[in-house]
Amino acid sequence: MPEGWTFQGLPAGQVALVAGIGAALVILYFLLRPRPPVVEVSSHVLWDKVLPKRRNPLLKELLMVALQLAAVVALALALGDPRKDDDEDTAAEQLADGVILERVWVVDRSLSMGAVDADGRTRIDRVGRLLRDELAGLDPRVSVGVIGASSTPELLAPVGLDRERVALALRLLDVDGVTADLSAAVAMSPPGALVEVFTDAADAGALATDRIVIRAPFEPRANVAITAFDLRASEGIPAEEEAVVRLSNRSTSPAEVELRLETVDSILGQATVMLAPGAEVVRRYRFRPLDGSGIEAVLRRITFEDGSHDALAADDRAYAWVQPVTPISVLLVTDGNRFLERVLSLLPGASVDRIKPAAWSRRAGSADAYDVVFLDGFVPNGRQPARAFYVAPPAGGPFAVERMVAAPAVTDWNHDHPLFKGLVLRDLHVQTSAVLTAGPDDVRLIGSPAGPLALARETASGRSVGWGFDFGASDLPLRLAFPQTMVNTLLWMRDGRAVGQPPGGRHALGDPLWVGPDGVSGAPRAETNDEVAASAGGDDEVGAWIGLTDLGQQAVALAQDDERGAQRATTRWAVGDGPRPLRLPHPGLWRLDGPGWSYDVAVNLGDNSESSLASLPAHDGARIEPPPVLVADEEPDRNPLWLLLALGTGAVLLGEFGLYTR
């Protein structure tokens, strides 16, 4: 059987058997043919003149046998129903012919492919259009598939002849994630296929081989990016929010950018920043304490000196949470203490409320809201403030006074205590001081031969300091150590309550967020009493439904009274008996809701490598010409071969009968 042909009816063996049996019978019949009788005559001269010249009758018999054999073999072959094989050439045959019939298009879906070219189209749009045009002109024999290269490769359209599927995949091409693993995407291609990689990765040239072609139909573009943005509350003094924004000019031209820090409903501030080509600058901004919420850093206007436009918008925004910080507040209860009043007034960003001891009862209820309450020669009745500094306390207070001492010699300072950290207090002169009685948990701060002059106390309910002498009765106010001691006091008292936890976490877009039924792995969760997102399965089914909400999109929709839009801001994801790697679609402020918990997260790009648009890979810009459309020299197989064989057999039958009758 010639190559490319198969028997669709009887298998080849049976065809041969039938043909063999038939042929054997034909030959047997031939051998058993009747021979004409031989008659002896005296002379054949007369017979020669009467009888016509005759050919050798054996020739006729042999011819008939040949026709009979032909008919038998033809019928046997017809029973086998031979048809041409439609299978595609092997890859080796394809190559030998110079035609590659399997083609894979690998499309880079990294962030930089969202860069806008001069004509307003993104790079990935350009690739999609280019490939749809090429698809239309592709030889119909060519199988083509599309693989999307993002952090993990995805089969967007399997390799095959389904042009519609490929066209759909090309129409839906979009950027996915941040980086692209081109090697893994190329590895997904079937062996032997021609792979065309559409990418703007500068190092993609290393992938090129004789079967892998790099194509980069793009141009270098200018870009300024926010490469880092974060907020933090100061745990020290003053109590402020500090924002750090890092900007990078990834172009060859100087740029001027307008940087703005915004919340959902207000603009916190804006600044104009100049960036030299290739420069990266860090800007720090300070704010008064804000309510906990999300903040967005936005590059509102970017101007390049050479007239270029910023090509990539995705890196012009960044998100962070405001870390709550408690403003510094001090309550001074005194009849008048100019040293204390003055030094407290010098504390930056602190609000100092001053009341007389007689007015204490009205303020007692709110005393715990202050970072520290200075009680100057006064001890309140009843409940003491949680954080109190007793200056020259009278007897009967929480710090027991043993006796008064004149001109005590100060012999020891507790430099290990936070109150005296970094201070040098030699030769302090004190006119008169109370000697305090130290309790079992009290820490001696200042001592004399008579006993402790200052004590610190820390209990479950708070912290307090007993200072045995009035500041004015010493030379402490004249020393640099005095304001520093007050600062240290505030820091110690505020320790642990100055700042709160940011309302959400931080996450890089390219990394998966591991989400399970119990929350996000490695992240603190906020317990909620909200109903779990409705489950489509049974209550006892493994796993849970997680709601993922784009807070920015939701806020915009709510601002426009678009309830449906607000609902569309939330998508549902099913998680199983353990964590699931969730890849968020784009940067922003997000909320995840699970059964009894929620988690807010600010998602930023993380990896800044995709912001460099100025360099492109070494590539073959020309399109790969599809193989020429061959003129079909074969008509479609409308008449199967068995028909022709049967037709031939019929003619042979007639012809052979005609010979038989001659």
Binding site: E154, P158, A536, P579, T661
Partner: protein, 869 residues
């Protein structure tokens, strides 16, 4: 029985060939062959029937039958998450399904390492590729599992399945999976299926499999060799399990523990004692019966163990002995290796390097660079002064000079060049009060001892006019100068510029390499710079520098400063005359460029210094007889000082290390009284302790996050007032198991926050050492916080291993989105109603058989012989 009534003809026009049948009769009639009639008639009949049958075959007869117009493709999840139990469940379901499928065209896709069609090769030769149940189930059972790194990509599997569905009006896809997808967005494929009206039936392969593993391994870093090290193994399981946990250090088992935990996280603490200092590779293995995913049962980490402290002491043997004796009581024992010369680098094997009174001029570039690198990498350097004077002039010592916490003035480069100095002393009336002139003269005389050999000195007194007290001549000792000064009478006004003119005239002819004028006055000059200042500029042009000392509040400071500025010298101001000796000394030091001060002085401690912690409140410091004078650099930590604040014991940081400088000597001529001082040992033990003690990472934090092979390092720093520090230069040294250590800068990413990402090795862990190595402001600003933070990181197992084992909700959603069935039986899938299609079955084959048989019969008839005929 063949029901011919149901036969139809596809090409009835072929029947026209039957019109050729009479031809056979005609051929027989006109046949001259003389065959017997019966034979020829029979042959004609048989031939005719054979021909007719053949013509009928040419008409392509067929019968029409109806079959279900449906097709199906099975997509079988073959990822790592499928254990043998689930695989068997899938194979059993498939076998039953193939039985139900009967004649329905079916294909199968295996979603393993590579998504591929299965089972077609075995069926070549059949009319259409179909699968047999046994073949399919066998293929599923024996298919190799995908590697864990391949993940579970249901989207690709669905795409391949959809692309390979045989054509039919009713097509369906059956997905057999546990739903634990880790790659791809299956929604895209479901949209295609919905658009093409292809339901996806889902056969969930559950229940949840046992998932247990090691989340991370956290050893306590920087313990001392010989001490026990605690290692925390963080474990996790989705079910109660018991097992065995084994800790290996450098491939050797060092600890085991039986564990029982779960469901949920659990921390197990193991301890072991390292057998040496340095970096160790740790590995913990969790063995739990029934764990189908052992890939994550291993945790890796790197541990740094500090070796027992050793000190390399380099210096004169008597000084080394003195220091060794001083630190003899240090605990833990300090092993001292004493050398008289500094060996070649590296010095990393030593906890600290002590260099006693080094001759810095003789140090080669390799050794100075070695010391700098040693300190930069975290080493501790203690250097003392002495007779060598800590001369940092040479080019090769400049790098070392930069890391010292004291800045020393440059001495003369090659040899002391000849110096000529002229002192212009105010001898006006005002100098008579309170013995001012005498004080000035005495101060001047004291400073003369700094004059080098071969130097020349002149003293010019001036009031209204200048006069030589001691003409410019070779310096022969202080006595002649003192004698000359004692003869001076103070009277008259103050005319500075005439004196300067005279000094200029004397010095311009002098051939000394260094020519200098020191001008002292306590009053207002009658001549001003505005009118006479050109003499100073002329002096500078001839390289004659002028320094000025303005004494008392009555002096014209601004005028004096103007002169000094124009004269390229220094301007001093002394409120009182008793400050003059120091100023003269300072000036002479600047001019003669010598650092050593051979003078007895008292030491003043800085209260609260960590270097003096071992000393009592009042240790009674003996006097020192000399020191090397320099200026304390900003940001360094002073512990002992002279009365005027010059550093005696001072510490500073350089990158990851520390340098302590004692500007006097140990065991030398300057510190003789200290040898017998009872607190001597306590002082040096305290210095060593403070130097070797790890700097507490106050207000510093290091966080690491690992995803795959990418580790993110985040460093947090705040200042003592708890404000974020944004001025730091932060660096991490990554030390992987296999490979060389390398440095990575951390960029600022937030207030007081710095971060970087690194790629980890595929096998093994990496030790990250992070520290602030400088500031963006430089040495003029607050120093960088000390302290190195360590963390060990290792690549995480593939997502497939860490992810859930069963996600039925996701599977149910797939079915819902495509209107497919969830957890159907095979009968439910193939028993559902489906449209039918008409199929044509050809019947020509039997006609061909008949024609062949008739042909052979015909040929046999021709040979038939009737006996007797």
């Amino acid at each position: 029985m063949i029901d011919l009534s149901s036969w139809q003809l596809a090409a009835p026009s072929a029947l026209w060939a039957l019109l050729l049948l009479p031809l056979l009769a005609l051929l027989r009639e006109r046949s001259p062959a003389g065959h017997p009639a019966w034979r020829s008639f029979g042959a004609m009949l048989l031939r005719g029937v054979a021909f007719a049958v053949l013509v009928l075959a040419l008409a392509q007869p067929f019968v029409e039958t109806t079959v279900p117009d449906r097709s199906a493709v099975f997509v079988v999840d073959a990822s790592t998450s499928l254990d043998p139990t689930r695989t068997e469940a899938a194979a059993t379901w498939l076998q039953q399904a193939m039985g139900e499928a009967a004649d329905v065209p079916v294909r199968a896709v295996l979603a393993g390492e590579v998504t591929e069609l299965i089972g077609l090769e075995a069926l070549a030769g059949e009319a259409a590729p179909t699968l047999r149940g046994g073949d399919l189930a066998s293929a599923v059972r024996t298919a190799p599992r995908a590697g864990a790194s391949a993940g579970t990509d249901l989207r690709s599997a669905l795409e391949v399945g959809l692309a390979n569905l045989p054509e039919a009006r009713h097509r369906e896809l059956v997905l057999l999976s546990d739903g634990a997808a880790t790659r791809g967005r299956v929604d895209e494929a479901l949209r295609v299926a919905s658009a093409r009206d292809i339901p996806v039936h889902v056969v969930p392969l559950g229940p949840p499999a046992l998932r247990t593993g090691v989340v991370r391994l956290v050893p306590l870093q920087d313990q001392l060799h010989g001490d026990e090290v605690t290692v925390e193994a963080h474990l996790d399981s989705n079910a109660p399990v018991t097992g065995e946990l084994t800790l290996l250090a450098n491939g050797r088992s060092v600890a085991t523990a039986s564990v029982g935990f779960g469901p949920g996280p659990h921390t197990e603490t193991l301890t072991f004692t390292p057998d040496r200092g340095g970096v160790h590779d740790l590995r913990v293995e969790l063995a739990v019966a029934g764990d189908a995913r052992p890939d994550d049962d291993v945790g890796l980490a790197r541990l740094r163990v500090k070796p027992r402290p050793t000190a390399l002491v380099v210096g004169p043997s008597e000084q080394a002995r003195a220091l060794r004796a001083a630190v003899a009581g240090y605990v833990p024992e300090l092993r001292v290796e004493a050398r008289t010369e500094l060996p070649a680098p590296p010095y990393d094997d030593h906890s600290m390097v002590v260099v006693l009174d080094p001759d810095l001029k003789a140090l080669d570039g390799k050794r100075t660079r070695g010391l700098v690198d040693y300190v930069g990498g975290g080493g501790r350097l203690l250097m003392t002064g002495g007779q060598q004077g800590l001369v940092t002039d040479e080019t090769q010592t400049e790098v070392l000079a930069e890391i010292l916490p004291v800045k020393f003035p440059k001495t003369k480069k090659k040899q002391r060049a000849p110096l000529s100095v002229v002192y212009c002393l105010d001898t006006s009336d005002s100098m008579a009060n309170g013995a001012k002139f005498e004080l000035a003269a005495a101060a001047l005389a004291q400073s003369l001892y700094l004059l080098p050999e071969g130097g020349r000195v002149g003293i010019l007194g001036f009031s209204d006019l200048p006069h030589w007290v001691h003409p410019l001549s070779d310096f022969m000792g202080s006595d002649p100068v003192i004698g000359a000064l004692s003869q001076v009478r103070v009277r008259g006004g103050t005319s500075i510029y005439h004196a300067l003119q005279q000094a200029y005239d004397a010095l311009k002819a002098d051939d000394a390499l260094v020519k200098h004028v020191v001008l002292l006055s306590d009053g207002q000059s009658t001549t001003t710079f505005a009118r006479h200042g050109d003499v100073v500029t002329a002096m500078l042009r001839r390289r004659i520098t002028v320094s000025t000392i303005a004494v008392s509040a009555d002096s014209d400071r601004s005028e004096m400063e103007r002169i000094a500025e124009a004269g390229g010298g220094r301007a001093y101001y002394a409120k009182r005359f008793d400050q003059l000796p120091q100023l003269f000394l300072d000036e002479m030091m600047q001019v003669t460029r010598t650092n050593k001060i051979d003078k007895e002085f008292d030491v003043h401690p800085v209260v609260g210094s960590r270097f003096l912690e071992r000393l009592p409140e009042d240790p009674g410091y003996p006097a020192l007889k000399g020191y090397v004078r320099g200026e304390q650099r900003p940001g360094t930590e002073l512990a002992l000082a002279t009365a005027d604040g010059h550093p005696v014991l001072v510490a500073g940081r350089y990158k990851r290390g520390q340098v302590v400088l004692f500007t006097s000597d140990v065991g030398g001529a300057w510190s003789q009284e200290w040898q017998d001082w009872e607190q001597h040992g306590a002082l040096w033990e305290g210095v060593v302790e403070a130097l070797l003690r790890p700097e507490p990472p106050d207000r510093l934090a290091l966080r690491t996050r690992v995803e795959g092979r990418t580790a993110t390092i985040e460093y947090d720093a705040m200042d003592p007032l708890m404000n974020p520090r944004g001025d730091l230069v932060v660096e991490a040294i990554v030390d992987p198991t296999d490979g060389d250590a390398y440095a990575v800068p951390l960029a600022p990413t937030g207030p007081g926050r710095y971060a970087a990402t690194v790629q980890l090795p595929e096998a093994g862990a990496a030790l990250i050492r992070t520290a602030a190595v400088g500031t963006t402001i430089g040495r003029d600003g607050p120093p960088a916080p000390g302290g190195e933070l360590l963390a060990s990181v290792a690549a995480t197992p593939p997502e497939e291993v860490r992810a859930a084992t069963f996600n039925p909700r996701a599977l149910r959603r797939i079915a819902e989105q495509t209107r497919g069935l969830y957890a159907p039986t095979p009968a439910e899938v193939f028993g559902s109603d489906a449209p039918e299609r008409i199929v044509r079955e050809a019947r020509h084959a039997m006609l061909l058989w008949a024609a062949l048989a008739l042909l052979l019969l015909d040929l046999g008839w021709r040979r038939l012989r009737i006996p007797g005929r």
